[in-house]
Symmetry: C2
Subunit: 356 residues, 2 copies
């Protein structure tokens, strides 16, 4: 009943990426804050091993007073902790046909962290943004080759978005020092935006008077209909609901088995564009409303539950959400060259009354 996301086989290069870049197993949707090690990870190049005592963050460009700060300087500033859901822009890519060749995410490139850091806008105010500034560029310590260009990972934000009060420079995750793979010792955190925005291993912040033309803004992370389309930038997270696949899995096929009877199906739903206001559980194509719980913050996912009287046989479960801005999830994926922002509904094949 449920078809694999794509019938085309995965290449060796895609497998190399899938092995490096960790998805969040969907049963981890049970945790409101994703345990360290289960949050998704996408690393373009290598995880660098940085010495925090030698670390400096430079703030320069179109500012009155360029700054150079160590980690201790940052930790003495105003400190906040926010619960934020982050999702990779490529989540759902492997569900597209033809499948864009890159990190082949199925549906699990998501996670929620309790991030601790200092608001970016306070730092920018100290540096003094000069008239005529339009963007802020964030550069990480991770280097590699992409699209034939050697580069440090770098992304820009429009100035107004960089000044949003929720944007943090973070040094902590879930009450611990930031793990290396999440950007130790310092990362950007832009709540509501896809994860590529939240530059890890952050070492330089540059205020500019012209739009940034670096690879990750100009070439990558754009929604393009075809190779000739300049496209539009990938920005905020589209609405999505996911469920914990009920019952128990078959090791190899991951098909789910559960006994007959009433079962509570649970999951999480989020949108970076507006609060999630409704979730529905689909049972063999019929939609029933789910109960929604409060979120742990304006940028955190919401838990949802729905009761299902599971009768013996084969079933397909699905779920979808709607946000306050009217954003919904499509039943069928919308294709684009890079395979970004595919928020088509999740479908889970379930056998009720099977061997488990």
């Amino acid at each position: 009943m449920t078809e694999p996301p794509s019938t085309a086989a995965i290449s060796h290069e895609e497998l190399q990426l899938a092995a490096r870049n960790h998805a969040m197993p969907l049963e981890a949707l049970r945790w409101d804050v994703t345990p360290i090690g289960l949050h998704y990870l996408l690393t373009h190049y290598d995880v660098p091993m940085l010495d925090p005592s030698a670390f400096r963050l430079e703030v320069d460009g179109h500012v009155e007073r360029p700054l150079s700060l160590g980690i201790d300087d940052l930790r003495m500033r105003e400190t906040v902790t926010s619960t934020v859901t982050m999702e990779c822009a490529g989540n759902g890519r492997a569900g597209l046909a033809p499948r864009p060749v890159s990190q082949p995410w199925l549906l699990e490139a998501v996670g929620t962290g309790e991030w601790t850091g200092t608001p970016l806008r306070g730092l920018l105010a100290d540096a003094g943004i000069r008239d005529g500034a339009v963007e802020v560029v964030f550069e990480g310590a991770d280097r590699g080759v992409e699209g034939g260009e050697a580069q440090a990972y770098a992304r820009s934000l429009p100035l107004a978005d960089a000044l949003a009060p929720e944007v943090l420079l973070a040094w902590g995750l879930n009450g611990h020092v930031l793990p290396p793979q999440h950007g130790f010792p310092l990362r950007l955190l832009v709540p509501g935006w896809y994860g590529m925005t939240s530059v890890k291993w952050l070492t330089r912040i540059t205020v500019t008077t012209v739009p940034f033309t670096g690879y990750q803004n100009q070439e990558s992370y754009r929604i393009r209909r075809d190779e000739d389309d300049p496209g539009v930038p990938v920005t905020r997270i589209a609405p999505r609901a996911l469920m914990v696949p009920p019952g128990v899995p078959d090791f190899m096929t991951r098909r789910r088995f559960l006994p007959e009877g009433r079962v509570t199906v649970e999951g999480r739903a989020w949108s970076g564009r507006a609060p999630v206001v409704a979730v529905e559980l689909g049972v063999d194509g019929e939609w029933i409303p789910a109960r929604l719980e409060r979120a742990s913050g304006p940028f955190a996912w919401r838990r949802w539950t729905a009761e299902w009287d599971a009768a013996a046989g084969e079933h397909e479960l699905s779920c979808r959400c709607r946000d306050e801005a009217g954003g919904e999830q499509p039943l069928e994926a919308s294709w684009n060259v890079g395979g970004y922002a595919n928020n088509a509904v999740q479908r889970v094949a379930v056998t009720v009354g099977g061997p488990a």
Copy 2:
């Protein structure tokens, strides 16, 4: 120069497993103790969410005094911390041709933890092993379907191996409470053995008078020449050296680029059978000895380094180790049905003087 491990394309089912089961990116070989979240993970079924206050460990079977213990009972016992390298028995599987269909590991299913717990043999002594006992069966709380059988994950050890002083019941990792994905609240840890032995989410220990015939011992985790071969059990970790791929990667191909000149190539080497006594770095097929550093414990990997004068052009680096028992790594993989214990040498394609 370097060929992909297998030219056969990866199936959707293998991709589902690769997304769930986290490899350790090889640059994380730089850390002597693998940071939480970078250690490899192989979960047969789902990561369970267990309530530690309701948790009980039952010790039963062929013993004088069956025991039932909570986590606090265990924590009051003799407590030790050991640095232990763990590797999945299927590491290297994707390098076999034809590729056995299961979790498609390349080379990164490894990690080293500082595990805290109590020696198993003290607990077994308290329970009182009766004459005639031959094995100890360890059962986890994780359930699923495998080979058509509904089951809890369970594995046995011969009694003598279960009584080895290094075998622990562990509740801590790297100074933290055991993360859910590593077996919270309690797991078995059998240093030197492939990871399938170290049962996570451990809830029952049963001493038996007959060999265990459960799926994970009888059907899975055996070295078989063909489907009709009953095979021999997978036990201790075969010797392996891995390197941190030098230079920087191309995002998609993971090919490495570095400038001309002297470079220190580094990595780690381990064997569960005997101490590693030699490592060699291969440069375009010529082998040069590496320097070996001390291990953090008898079951932990050893760091190695070797200097290489990198000349412009295309090169293939490789590495291999030898243990005190004479165990070596083959240049070509040895095939078996389940794709276990493939410790053929790592090969890394490098471009010197490229775009980086």
